[in-house]
């Protein structure tokens, strides 16, 4: 009976040590996967950082490029019409995630605008905004563009997009909703108006400009400035996104580092516990033989 008891104890301790080994292995695989994740997030952070300086430069150029348009609209006193029946909202985001709240921030502003103009039509540039807006405003979405925002946007892209948007017809009021690049730590979602031919023609100070009656300068200029505004919105959005991704990946790497530290301590502790257990087993075994 005694022997039987000892046998049982031995079996129980074997089982428990086996369990220890299992958790040890579990912790080890977990640790390994976190280390791999850290490697990935670190690399993504480096990629984002290298892209950031270029994106910021491109953004500064596009902002200056668009500034000339804005000067003109200011001097001419162009403003969007107050009563707007047909409204178009152009939401600028991109296809890729892992960059914090950048996409939900533009969709939030879009939804806020939609509360103001419930019947507004929506154009989505980028899959992320489309997916988020499809849930609530599937009917309003008239046009979506995918594949933008992989690299810094080009004027050609913006011109093609504005060409497609123009085919939707005329609107009383068009707004572009995008993430404005504020600093390398922050962005704010804002809305920029697009002025069509009609709004420009109605500008109160347009007469200060010497424009020939029969020329189509105003028409052409409005087309140009629409492409221009979309381009600038895309560039700002891209810079904000790259920046947000860098910050998000920085945080993720830090968190992964913390977890790695915790798990290594846990791993070592468990390992030592297992060793101690084994030693106890050996000693009890040896003493029972005596």
């Amino acid at each position: 009976m005694f022997r039987l008891g000892a046998f049982q104890i031995a079996r129980a301790s074997l089982a428990s040590s086996a369990r220890n080994y299992a958790t040890l292995r579990e912790i080890e695989t977990r640790l390994k996967s976190i280390k791999n994740i850290e490697k990935i997030t670190k690399t993504m952070k480096i990629v984002a950082s290298t892209r950031l300086s270029r994106a910021e430069k491109a953004m500064a150029c596009s902002r200056y490029f668009q500034g000339a348009d804005r000067d003109f609209f200011e001097a001419a006193g162009t403003k969007a019409e107050d009563k707007a029946e047909k409204v178009l909202l152009i939401t600028v985001s991109s296809d890729k995630g892992l960059c914090g709240a950048i996409h939900s921030s533009v969709t939030k502003l879009t939804k806020k605008k939609l509360a103001e103009y419930p019947d507004a039509d929506i154009v989505c540039i980028g899959e992320k905004a489309k997916v988020q807006l499809l849930r609530t405003n599937a009917d309003g979405i008239k046009l979506t563009f995918a594949g933008s925002g992989k690299a810094a946007p080009t004027f050609k892209e913006a011109a093609l997009i504005s060409d497609e948007i123009e085919k939707l017809g005329t609107y009383d009021r068009v707004e572009v909703i995008y993430n404005r690049f504020a600093s390398s730590m922050s962005f704010d979602s804002s809305a920029a108006p697009l002025y069509g031919k009609a709004s420009i023609a109605l500008s109160k100070n347009l007469s200060t400009f010497d424009i020939e009656e029969d020329s189509n300068v105003v028409d052409a200029f409005s087309q140009f400035s629409i492409a221009n505004t979309i381009f600038s919105a895309m560039s700002e959005g891209y810079a904000s996104e790259v920046c947000a991704r860098r910050n998000a990946m920085d945080n993720a790497s830090k968190n992964a580092g913390d977890m790695i530290q915790k798990y290594s301590i846990l791993y070592n502790r468990t390992r030592q516990a297992a060793i101690t257990n084994e030693l106890v087993d050996i000693i009890t075994g040896a003493s029972s033989l005596n």
Binding site: A58, A60, C61, S62, Y64, F65, G67, A68, D69, D71, F72, A75, T154, F155, A158, A159, S162, D163, E166, T208, F209, D210, I211, E212, S215, N216, V217, A220, F221, Q223, F224, A227, N228, F231
Partner: protein, 166 residues
Amino acid sequence: MFRHTIRAASKVNRLVGFRTYAEAAAPKATAASNKLRLSIALPHQTVLKDKDVFQVNIPAATGDMGILANHVPVIEQLRPGIVEIFDSPSHSDKFFISGGFASVMPNSKMDILSVEAAALKDFDSAAVKSQLADAKKNLDSTNENVAAEASIEVEVLEALNAALSK
């Protein structure tokens, strides 16, 4: 959209004389007020930023024009051609632009917006000629898009070729 711009430009009579620095017309005012603040911006690059210049000659769709300080506010569509910038009465820089817009603000600030621009001296005339020959081949293409693209190319390259051989 650009096709539209360029079509409009091509209708313009090219025989308009090229205006050069209009010395007689320069306002005899203080040095500060007879300068034009010029900016040339491209989507991907800022070529000039608030540079003080005497006169700018632009290839407007309605004919080449020279702009001095205190010009009446204006907005002009540009066709592909040369923008000549006089930073002093005797010295000028030439840029080739692919078309766009020029606007003069009430405070003698001038903006030129173009999709592409480069200094004229940076162009290689042999490359221009060979590309022009290629583009002309595509002009009669049955594919409408190819033909349209080629007609824009020919338009820009011919302007460039003319500018280089001047």
